[in-house]
């Protein structure tokens, strides 16, 4: 090792800073990461956020609860239905509004369809980040079917604003059930193709196995959640821990892995797609009859006090914390965003790895930037 040391003293190497973002293909949105690099090795990652900060929490303090729901669409736009559902559930629990089973089942089916659409988009972009550009089109081909289902029933494809306080905006369209069944039959044939194309590919395995390892203790200490945390063995699925809507009437398995590397995070999401499909299958055939909306007062006021509602979105558990002083708009409304919590682990994951690994790690955390900046 003698000359190694000799060379190290003679050749003066210097670390340099590289701004990855805010306009960069791998950051999936507008976020900047200041990398301290030694050649291609990363010494330190510091995410700089706030490029898309609209201060939704300040807006929510000036609008009524009904109007606050439509603002949550723009939080994590890939799981907009679950965000709406979170605020709706909170207000219903706080104001004591009882919703019938039909609404619960519709909300659960819509939530699982949103999770499927979000995971499909994640898979498509994951392939593109590691270099396989065709996965983008296969992922979007399947996601398009879900978007048509949403467009037909809720009226819009991404920011649906479908869940309201006391129910859902429209009743299910008459060929909703047929479309969902066609989609499930189609996607059951296509998901194994996802595995053949990317999961079993040796180049992809080499790019993701053993990269960005997080132990269960680290994940808990960082407060991480969602599939990213479940890949390290931390059972944090709110659908299991605090079941809401129709999740207690459905039996599904919480996917857990133990390796905690990038491939484990990838595998967890692929298996979650299978679980979501089985949940939809269990519910789609026996949607109970009933009103799609319960009668509610025109202006809804919450009693004094503070309320917390947690919902499992595609990225993790979204916490809605409201301090209410009895007026028609919340005194303080805080969104505990899952992607913001998952950002804590990014530095530990990528110190000592290469730029290409940072792109893979960032893509397996499945970050949606508006969810971070709010």
């Amino acid at each position: 090792m003698g000359n190694q040391q000799f060379l190290a003293d003679k050749i003066r190497t210097e670390e340099y800073l590289l701004n990855m973002g805010p306009q960069h293909p791998a950051t999936h949105g507008v976020m900047r990461m200041v990398l301290k690099l030694d050649g291609e090795e990363i010494r330190d990652v510091e995410p700089v956020m706030g490029y898309i900060h609209r201060s939704i929490e300040k807006m929510c303090e000036h609008v009524s609860y009904k109007q606050a729901i439509h603002l949550t669409d723009r939080l994590d736009y890939l799981s907009s239905h679950m965000n709406n559902e979170a605020v709706a559930l909170l207000v219903e629990k706080a104001a004591g509004i009882e919703v019938n089973d039909r609404i619960k089942v519709i909300r659960t089916i819509m939530a699982e369809l949103t999770r499927l659409a979000s995971h499909q988009l994640w898979w498509a972009v994951m392939g593109m980040d590691t270099g396989a550009l065709t996965t983008f089109f296969y992922g979007f081909r399947d996601r398009e079917l879900i978007n048509d289902i949403f467009e037909e029933t809720c009226g819009s494809r991404l920011t649906m604003n479908y869940s309201l306080i006391g129910g859902v905006r429209y009743d299910l369209h008459e060929n909703f059930v047929k479309r969902v069944k066609d989609f499930i039959a189609h996607f059951k044939k296509k998901l194994p193709e996802y595995d053949n194309l990317l999961s079993n590919n040796v180049i992809f395995r080499k790019r993701t196995e053993g990269i960005g390892i997080l132990t269960k203790e680290q994940v808990i200490d960082f407060g991480m959640n969602g599939p990213t945390a479940r890949a390290s063995g931390f059972a944090c699925d709110i659908r299991k821990k605090l079941p809401y809507s129709a999740y207690d009437k459905v039996d599904f398995q919480e996917i857990l892995a133990t390796e905690g590397d990038a491939f484990a995070r990838y595998k967890v999401r692929i298996l979650e797609m299978w679980e979501s499909m089985s949940i939809i299958e269990q519910l789609i055939d026996n949607i109970p009859e009933g009103e799609h909306r319960v009668k509610t007062k025109a202006v809804i006021k919450l009693p004094e006090g503070e309320f917390l509602q947690r919902v499992e979105t595609a990225r993790g558990d979204l916490g809605v914390y409201v301090i209410s002083d009895g007026k028609k708009n919340p005194y303080r409304l805080k969104f505990r965003s899952p992607s913001f919590a998952n950002m804590h682990g990014l530095n530990t994951m990528s110190v000592g790895t290469k730029i290409a690994d940072l792109v893979v790690n960032f893509s397996t955390i499945d970050v949606v930037v508006p969810d971070i900046d709010r």
């Binding site: 603002l71 809720c154 053949n196 590919n201």
Partner: protein, 164 residues
């Protein structure tokens, strides 16, 4: 020796990957039946959106150019983004002789609307509903501020919402 083992395994996984893309290439090389491209500008006349699609807010006018809006400004209050302005005026109603509000202009700022649908829900008379047109791109911003009630239109006298 695992040296050759993982080479063989590697080529096997690479070939299965190529089999998937190859299937899509050769199966519909001539039929092109799986193609998902929608040639948007060309299919503009045959393109029909779903009936619940939220293109823009429009006001319902019946055959003799009359609408149901009696300027109660419920939609203006319900809108979270302040994209609806109602310009109304008072006039003496002939039969009852009492002053009655009537709608002059229902100004709808399309560029501020987030398509949340709270105005359509709040309207007691179902005067406004969803239009399916989504071609909103224009050259100047002024044309995005639309007046929903057509010129020369008036309120249907004595209209009561059957549902309420």
């Amino acid at each position: 020796m695992s040296y050759f083992g993982d080479i063989a395994n590697a080529t096997k996984t690479l070939l299965t990957g190529m089999k998937v893309t190859g299937k899509y290439f050769f199966v519909n090389f001539f039929t092109r039946k799986d193609v998902i491209t929608v040639e948007y500008p060309d299919n503009i006349d045959t393109l029909k959106m779903f009936d619940r699609f939220r293109g823009e807010v429009v006001m319902y006018h019946d055959e003799n150019n009359q609408h149901r809006c009696d300027a109660c400004t419920m939609c203006e209050l319900a809108c979270p983004n302040g994209s609806i302005e109602i310009v109304w005026d008072k006039a003496i109603n002939e039969e009852t002789g009492k002053p009655k509000k009537f709608l002059e202009k229902h100004i709808y700022h399309l560029e501020m609307c987030t398509m949340c649908g709270l105005c359509i829900e709040a309207c007691p008379a179902d005067a406004i509903q969803w239009g399916q047109n989504f071609h909103h791109s224009t050259r100047d911003r002024a044309s995005l501020t639309k007046v929903l009630n057509q010129p020369g239109s008036s309120f249907i006298p004595g209209y009561k919402n059957p549902k309420k």
